[in-house]
């Protein structure tokens, strides 16, 4: 087993454990922390896949900014432990089976349709930041600009909704 494989299995395992823990935990703050664990693990996997830039912003933006926002809101609202109501019979009896079936089905399908021809090798394909920058500001300049509108909307929305007095 190479180092890469070891890394993969380690962080894949961590990601799954984190995700599971996120689901299982009752307190939102624990869930948030588990999610951060998932995200960081994923960042490592991105690196394995040669996505340097993505790995970086995964940590900076996702784990750093977005999750902080979450934690912040949790604190703000002083959210305590989850109340385990079970009023939705549909979700109670079907929710987990359906989701698990979906999971298994997708996993199985992906496994079946993608027989491992391509193996991940280090440095075979690396997404350098410069290349990405070029792509982003040339070919994908329109979506990039569009995201600005998107963010504008988000800001506007957040302000409109959350500000006490308008």
């Amino acid at each position: 087993m190479t180092a890469e494989a070891l890394l993969f299995f380690l962080f894949a395992g961590l990601a799954v454990v984190g995700a599971l823990n996120m689901v299982v935990q009752r307190h939102p703050i624990h869930s948030a922390l588990s999610l951060i664990l998932v995200m960081v693990s994923l960042a490592v996997l991105y690196l394995l896949l040669g996505a340097e830039f993505i790995a970086a912003i995964q940590v900076i933006v996702y784990a750093g900014a977005i999750m902080v926002l979450f934690v912040f809101v949790i604190m703000l609202l002083n959210a305590g432990e989850e109340e385990r109501t079970n009023w939705s019979r549909l979700a109670r009896y079907l929710g987990l089976p359906v989701a698990v079936t979906l999971l298994l089905e997708m996993g199985w399908l992906l496994y079946r349709t993608w027989p491992g021809e391509t193996f991940v090798e280090a440095d075979r394909f690396v997404g350098r930041t410069a290349a990405i920058g070029h792509l982003l500001f040339k070919d994908y300049v329109l979506p990039f600009e569009l995201t600005s509108v998107l963010i504008l909307v988000a800001i506007l929305g957040a302000v409109v909704l959350a500000k006490r007095e308008l």
């Binding site: 040339k138 569009l146 509108v149 998107l150 504008l152 909307v153 988000a154 929305g157 409109v160």
Partner: protein
């Protein structure tokens, strides 16, 4: 690759809309109470300008930004439709916002930004563009739904819409990812090229299509993804409901049409039964649900599910006629739903007074309003001389041409099922007496009168002289083929 002038011309409407949106947003802090009143009209002006821009855009068809976007008659048609919807929604909201004490410029800005997103959706030729457009309009919608933020119902609507919408978006994205994985590209042309039935990634692509359909089906409220619709529509401020039930829905349908008609074309035989089933299911769920409603707004919400079902029938036909019918239906549907929800907006103060009894004897209280609503309802039923009828007529025609006799029969059955609940409203308006305690109605403001006149006349116009729109629609369909 620096964008060329043509590229910019091809996104001119979006640019105009975004510009006006920013303008509205920026101007607000500088204006006093009176000046703020001008922002709504300014936003409306923006949509008018965007319509003009669409005319310019129409003269410069072709791909833009590589092949991220495509401007063809199809997208021009939908631009006209969506921008008009936005404009009319702006007008319908003018007095509403004042009355409800939420007249913030952000509202208009969000509507305009939402329109930008929808505009991108309908001309997107690439799935991530679709996603971004969709997300832009969705985020705007989430906020708009919750705009009456002190009202528990509005915030609940916003929450449901947001959570479920994001959930569905997750599926959509995963679908896109899988399609990307199958073809190595998300440009529709590439997808069409690579996704031949026997290609290695075909199963992956099928998975992608399925998940993609989940996301968009959610937006157009296809059963079983329709559950959010009544709640959200009911909770949202009525003008927003008007916008929501027409604009994003039309845009999402446009995406479905374009994508299924071009990129997913090889899988036609596979998604046929899927569409068949969901169409039937959607019609029944919508109509049966509407049948038992006593809240007019909620009833209209269910009815919009049912109408999505009719459009899906056209979809299932899978022929040019079907696409044309769907496009025609969209415009007819937009007119009548906009009109109907505008009436609801006018009648409901604080989003109350929406039950059937509140409509009792409306014809004596505001005859013109009652007459307009009657036109919309008759059109929703699908009686001749209204756009709704011709819409259904074209849909059935397309479906029959495709040999879907049973689906059409189900459609007919649903039309009959829908008669009682629409007529119930007509009944109370014309045959009931006004409630004793009913508060006097505010006079119809000019802006709303304009909206109602336009939509009512448009509905009738579509029912009597559909030729112009038909031609537009037909050439749109023809433009939908990939070069």
């Amino acid at each position: 690759m620096i964008p060329t002038a043509n590229d910019l011309l091809r996104i001119l409407p979006e640019v105009v809309l975004a510009g006006f949106g920013i303008l509205v947003m920026m101007l607000e802090p500088f204006l006093g109470r009176g000046g703020k009143r001008a922002l709504g009209p300014l936003a409306f002006l923006g949509t008018v300008a965007a319509l003009a821009a669409t005319v310019i855009q129409a003269g410069h068809q072709g791909y833009a930004f590589g092949r991220l976007l495509v401007v063809d008659t199809f997208s021009v048609y939908l631009h006209f439709l969506l921008i008009s919807i936005t404009g009319l929604s702006v007008l319908a909201s003018l007095r509403y916002l004042e009355r409800e004490n939420i007249d913030h410029a952000e509202f208009y800005a969000l509507l305009l930004f939402g329109a930008v997103g929808m505009g991108i959706m309908v001309s997107a030729n690439e799935l991530v563009m679709v996603f971004l457009g969709l997300e832009t309009s969705s985020l705007a919608s989430y906020v708009l739904v919750g705009f009456r933020r002190t009202d528990g119902r509005a915030t609940e609507g916003a929450m449901k819409y947001f959570l479920l919408g994001s959930f569905a978006t997750g599926f959509l994205l995963y679908g896109i990812a899988l399609l990307f994985g199958a073809a190595g590209s998300t440009v529709l042309n590439d997808l069409a090229e690579k996704l031949q039935a026997n290609s290695p990634g075909f199963t992956l692509a099928l998975m992608g299509m399925a998940l993609f359909f989940v996301g968009l089906g959610f937006k157009v409220a296809v059963a079983p993804f329709q559950a959010w619709t009544p709640d959200v529509y009911q909770g949202a401020p009525s003008p927003v409901t008007a916008f929501l039930s027409t604009g994003p829905k039309a845009a999402a349908f446009a995406v479905l049409l374009r994508v299924f008609w071009t990129a997913f074309e090889p899988a036609t035989g596979i998604w046929f039964w899927l569409l068949w089933g969901t169409a039937a299911l959607t019609m029944f769920v919508g109509n049966l649900g509407a049948l038992v409603q006593t809240n007019v707004k909620r009833m209209l919400a269910y009815s919009s599910i049912a109408h999505a079902g009719y459009i899906l029938v056209a979809f299932a036909a899978g022929n040019e006629l079907g696409v044309a019918a769907a496009l025609f239906y969209l415009i007819a549907y937009a007119l009548m739903k906009l009109g109907a929800f505008s009436v609801v907006a006018h009648l409901s103060v604080n989003e109350d007074h929406q039950s059937l009894e509140d409509y009792s004897g409306l014809h004596t209280r505001q005859p013109a309003l009652a007459a307009c609503l009657t036109v919309f309802l008759l059109s929703l039923i699908g009686l001749p001389l209204t756009g709704g009828f011709l819409g259904k007529f074209f849909v059935f025609q397309a479906a029959l041409r495709a040999g879907l006799v049973w689906l059409v029969v189900l459609g007919v059955l649903n039309s009959i099922l829908s008669v009682p609940y629409y007529l119930r409203v007509v009944k109370v308006m014309y045959m009931g007496e006004p409630r004793e305690s009913a508060a006097p109605l505010a006079p119809v403001p000019a802006s709303l009168a304009f909206v109602l006149t336009l939509t009512a006349l448009g509905t009738v116009y579509l029912g009597i002289l559909p030729d112009a729109v038909q031609q537009f629609v037909t050439s749109s369909v023809l433009s939908l083929t990939l070069p």
